[in-house]
Symmetry: C2
Subunit: 235 residues, 2 copies
């Protein structure tokens, strides 16, 4: 974690901040962060520059523990909203989607084999702390992931511009997993065929598509709303 | 416009592609684009490198005409969905929001004074052609923009984490303008006070906020859906 807000997020997590590297100036500016870390190393600006991935970490780099969980652990919690991020390449995008999944109340995000590394520093940063909030799964094929979700009673919806169902018409009341694809080429036919339904985000203007993080936000918030409305009907 | 897809978007626009700079290789690969431009200049790789803003424009840079319109022109069309992007700083974000506004069927995007420049190459690129599809307005204060919208019968909703109304409860049936703020600090109190209502995107998990482009996508698609549902009820 780089910079004060990232370090603060790690500190708020129960697994805590394992180590904190700080320049003397930064340590003076952030006594609360220094007090919370298990081990603190004061370092020069040069060392900080060599440690940090960002150009300007504001004198703070923290080491935190965050660990992916097995898919079985997620399924045992009877999840109602899951994101499967297949073939994603841009770690910034992936982190943004992790943050959006958290905001929309998702129970887990799965990064199958061949997708971006959730531990990539750009993904961690773009998640704005959500890497600590939402359980994430790393590895497994898309086919295995979809099969496991389905056998746990989770409906799998794949997003594609050519989907047979418009998002507005999709039944989003029950446990749902969203399968999203690559930023440029989406989901291959094999993956699309695995899903229970292929859903398109409606395009009302002349844009040919949405970017991945935008499409994911629209779908996940539609699910959050659909599940809450359905919950209201059942009471 | 840089690269083949940007040049193709410009060519599809009625105002057309004014000039095309191409390396001999690129000209050979894209005869359709060369044929469509009013004037073509064959240039060396070195000249291409100096012309282009991107590292890899794939041998093509086009000059296209795209021009902002006065707010009055937009209002004369009786718009039903308008985006006001106040105090935005990141041109990539602004271009993504322009693309999302297009996809959601918005009638215009306003960039008031102090917001990002819609002609910024990063904004144009991130818009993925939507800069040609959606009329945009440049300049004017936020206060003037809001007043003009309201006097044309458009309800102005400001987005803020502390909004008194949840997006799920907002009345989105009528003509609506969404007022979005800065990526980091949102909208200042003065701007929030100008709006008819302050709306928050609900956060169901532990994320503290959404990023600007994500929040905009969720709000604009909620409007698109709300207006279509209301339209259905009236028939």
């Amino acid at each position: 974690m780089e910079g004060p807000s990232g370090v603060r997020e790690a500190l708020a997590d129960e697994r805590g901040l394992v180590e904190l590297f700080a320049t003397p100036d930064a340590a003076e500016r952030h006594p609360d962060l220094v007090a919370g870390a298990r081990r603190v190393h004061l370092v020069t600006e040069d060392v900080m520059g060599a440690l940090a991935d960002t150009v300007s970490p504001q004198g703070l780099v923290g080491v935190a523990e965050v660990r992916d969980v097995p898919l079985g652990t997620v399924l045992a919690t009877r999840p109602r909203l899951v994101v499967v991020l297949a073939h994603a390449r841009d770690p910034g995008n992936a982190g943004t989607i992790l943050r959006t999944a958290d905001a929309a109340g998702a129970d887990a995000v799965v990064f199958p084999d061949g997708s971006v590394d959730p531990y990539n520093p750009k993904c961690v940063r773009a998640s704005a702390g959500s890497v600590f909030h939402v359980p994430f799964v790393e590895g497994g094929s898309v086919a295995e992931t979809v099969a496991a979700l389905r056998s746990s009673g989770v409906r799998v919806l794949a997003t594609t511009a050519a989907g047979e169902t418009s998002l507005d018409d999709a039944d989003l009341a029950g446990p749902t997993a969203w399968l999203f694809g690559n930023e440029a080429w989406g989901l291959p036919g094999d993956d699309l065929a695995l899903a229970d339904q292929r859903v398109r985000v409606p395009l009302y203007g002349r844009a040919e598509s949405l970017n991945l993080a935008t499409a994911a936000a629209v779908c996940l918030y539609a699910s959050a709303r659909g599940q809450r409305e359905a919950g209201g009907c059942r009471t």
